[in-house]
Amino acid sequence: MIRFEVAPIRPRVATVVAVVWIYVGVCWLLTGLFMLLGGLQLVRIAGSAEWLGFAPAFAVGIVVSGAMGLRGAFGLLRLKERGRALVEWANWLSFAGFILFTLTFCNGFARTIGYFGSSEFDPSRAILPFFMGSSFAVPFLIMARKLRSQEVRYAVRDTEMRGDY
């Protein structure tokens, strides 16, 4: 039996990232929308949005990156440059969002209020939450870096030049 190793039509990394974003995009879009609706309802009841803190910004970030990722994933499956760029941006946005969320959470978690009302920052309390939060951000960084690789860029350019897919 002759064994031929055939390269796939689409680079493996592009397929994996696109399929991951189809699932993540749908979940995030719905989650973010309901977070926003829930927030609006709570604001209506409480009469103030101050106590929500950075939660609305986080929900908007989830909706935006989910929508971008979902829209881009279908383009990436057809190896379109626009799709690749959208998914890459969604990955960078998710990475930045998770890191910002982690840092904000760590800042609150590691700060202790003293007896006389002064606040102190204890870095040892921030180490574990920082690593846990960062572990959610790292996959998005890897995906964004992989989408910038020569292999994916060449495949996208080649497909756009030939006009197939």
């Binding site: 031929f4 055939v6 397929t15 309901f34 309802q41």
Partner: protein
């Protein structure tokens, strides 16, 4: 005069194998995502991953029919998982909407009972 293409068959075969490889990547990733995101997904996704095991070597060794069979079975399982996920998502959307809409009413009842 029409010139015969000696390599047309080989090219067609290569193209078919490349398509199978790409489909394999897509459905295997979907099976892993089913594992994490679908209710009962751990069972459905894991079975789909196991079913599609050895897909690459099957294609490369020229056993395309076997590979297509594995891919078909994996695809049915993943689509079944996606159907369950869609139903679960629809139920969640309805439940959350009802909860959000009834929130002021519930708070009012809580206040009347002497709550916060």
């Amino acid at each position: 005069m029409v010139l015969g293409d000696r390599f047309e068959e080989q090219r067609e075969q290569q193209r078919r194998r490349a398509t199978l490889h790409t489909s394999g990547h897509a459905w295997r990733t979907a099976a892993v995502m089913t594992c994490f995101l679908t209710p009962f997904g751990f069972v459905i996704g894991l079975v789909a991953v196991i079913v599609m095991r050895g897909l690459g070597p099957s294609i490369d060794n020229g056993r395309e029919a076997e590979a297509e069979q594995k891919l078909k079975l994996g695809r049915i399982l993943v689509l079944g998982g996606a159907t369950i996920a869609t139903i679960a998502l629809a139920i969640s959307v309805v439940e959350v909407s009802q909860f959000l809409l009834s929130m002021p009413e519930q708070l009012e009842q809580l206040k009347q009972r002497g709550g916060p």
